[in-house]
């Protein structure tokens, strides 16, 4: 994890503002000096993200952890190309992000399934869009539904599924168009504790197969430590990176073993302490 982005301090002037020019790095995702300002009619400009620097290497599982309102989801939306940056730059494999693309597959807390499509049709949507023939797409979608243990439900509509099942479909739907990067926006945040741990295990199992690059947004310390290679902790108002933890725990990870592992406990405890400190500052 020594591939810190090379920054050369060449000030470039844009609208009178000075930013750091980012030399193209070989990181999978490179977020350089990114800020986000929202203009509100009542309170003027609101700075949501302030000078965020962050890199994610290919095949790395990286979590962004922080309280609600710290802008962590906004950061993910900007990598997805759904929301524009106000300043700074985001590059994916050295190419600046200008909009959404099938190389970055989002999975949202809200599932965002197409309710008028069956489970199978939802998963087939991306491959069909990418020009895969229908039969092939159906076969491929069925394979993915087996992977997420939902093959019996292919003809169901989203409204007939539980939250956990919906999120499994959403994950399969995103995996179906083979993105290089998974952008997961608090994917298990709306689920009950039991389903949440099941899905964390399943996600790791799936991830171990081909180790895609994952950017994972969460507000759960245990979730971040259990899943990730690296955890960025963010502070709110304005949102910025507070601290980085490289999680040096063996893989494949087994929850029951990790819970007894002193290193796992240390990571969780030190992040919890940091968050406590942060709370006091804002109290």
């Amino acid at each position: 994890m020594d591939a810190a982005p090379q920054q050369i301090a060449t000030p470039a002037s844009t609208n009178g503002k000075t930013r750091l020019m980012q030399k193209t790095s070989d990181a999978m995702i490179d977020i350089a000096s990114v800020s986000k300002t929202y203009s509100t009619s009542q309170r003027g400009d609101h700075l949501a993200l302030d000078d965020v620097n962050l890199t994610i290497e290919e095949g790395q599982f990286v979590s962004i952890l922080g309280p609600s309102g710290c802008g962590k989801s906004t950061l993910l939306y900007m990598v997805g190309g759904f929301v524009d940056v106000s300043a700074g730059s985001i590059t994916v494999k050295g190419v600046p992000v200008t909009g959404p693309g099938p190389d970055r597959g989002p999975v949202f807390q809200e599932f965002a399934l197409f309710p008028w499509k069956t489970v199978l049709e939802n998963v087939m949507y991306g491959p069909l869009e990418q020009g895969m023939p229908k039969k092939e797409a159906a076969a491929w979608a069925r394979k993915l539904l087996t992977l997420v243990h939902l093959s019996k439900y292919e003809s169901f509509y989203p409204k007939e599924l539980s939250g956990g099942m919906k999120q499994r479909v959403a994950l399969a739907r995103t995996l179906a168009y083979k993105p290089n990067i998974l952008l997961m926006d608090e994917p298990f945040g709306a689920l009950d504790a039991y389903t949440r741990t099941r899905l964390q295990n399943e996600l790791l199992d799936i991830w171990e197969r081909d180790r895609k690059t994952v950017m994972f947004i969460t507000h759960s310390v245990e979730e971040a430590v259990f899943l990730s290679d690296r955890v960025y902790v963010m502070s709110p108002s304005p949102g910025h990176i507070r601290k980085v933890y490289d999680i040096d725990l063996p893989r494949p990870r087994v929850r029951a073993e990790l819970l007894l592992d002193r290193r796992y406990q240390d990571y969780v405890v030190s992040i919890e302490r940091l968050l406590d400190e942060q709370d006091k500052e804002f109290a």
Binding site: F82, G101, P106, T174, P179
Partner: protein
């Protein structure tokens, strides 16, 4: 007893019989000249419904209503969806539509007749206006509340802006559009009858108001029953289509008018 009440169609049937009984008692008690007993009115129905002239009139009315309705949906739905997805378009059109919405469309009939004459065009235009507004309104409300993340998911798969409008916003809004269409259908019936009242040539409204002018009250009430049944049948058929189209939707927008 309580189980028998749950037979489909039985409660509304009982309500209809109840209404006829109240009507009958009322006519016996007060003997108003313009209010014939229900049986007298019902007795006119076979005569009207076997009279080719009357049937041609009803068919002409339904044709107008269908043309006005279809044109209105074809025009209003895209505008509503566009307003729902573009703040600029919404800001431009919304005040305009909100001003036009409460204006009784049939009241515009005399003015429209000055432009288009007393023929089909005027009546269809009035029906069109009546149907358009609820369809615009509901399409607009539906389209603006489409889950943003759903559109983002489609964008990530490579669906472009036009494709997202047609293949994500439209189906996602369909349940709400159908609510607007259902209101539109009722308004189509109302504007159809009133437009025919004002520009009398053919149609259900023509029979109705000609009978009224000639003080044939039995026929007048028979026509009221026919119009009522027509509305009921239209709504029932529409509800069947709606259910079939949006059976996937989370919360069924059922306002049980015709359907039990």
């Amino acid at each position: 007893m309580s189980r028998a009440l749950w037979l489909p169609g039985l409660p509304p049937l009982l309500a209809c019989i109840g209404l006829l009984v109240v009507w009958d008692v009322f006519t016996r008690a007060f003997a108003i000249e313009g209010l014939p007993p229900p049986l007298e009115a019902l007795r006119q129905l076979p005569g009207i419904l076997t009279d080719p002239e009357a049937l041609l009139n009803i068919a002409a009315s339904l044709k107008r209503m269908a043309i006005g309705f279809v044109l209105a949906v074809a025009f209003a739905m895209p505008i509503g969806l566009w307003m729902g997805r573009s703040r600029l378009i919404a800001a431009a059109f919304n005040p305009l539509f909100m001003v036009i919405y409460p204006v009784p469309k049939a009241a515009l009939m005399p003015i429209i007749m000055l432009w288009l004459g007393v023929g089909e065009a005027s009546k269809i235009l009035v029906i069109f206006l009546g149907v358009s507004l609820p369809v615009v309104y509901h399409s607009f409300q539906g389209a603006r509340t489409v889950e943003e993340k759903m559109l983002w998911s489609a964008a990530a798969m490579g669906v472009g802006p036009a494709g997202r409008m047609l293949r994500i916003v439209l189906p996602a809004t369909l349940p709400e559009i159908m609510v607007g269409c259902r209101t539109g259908l009722v308004l189509a019936l109302i504007t159809m009858v009133t437009s025919e009242m004002i520009a009398r040539q053919t149609g259900i409204g023509n029979i109705f108001f000609t009978a009224l002018d000639m003080a044939q009250y039995n026929d007048v009430y028979a026509m009221i029953i026919i119009i009522g049944v027509l509305g009921f049948v239209c709504d029932f058929a529409f509800e069947a289509v709606r259910r079939w189209l949006v059976s996937w939707a989370d919360s069924p927008h059922t306002i049980a008018v015709g359907s039990a």
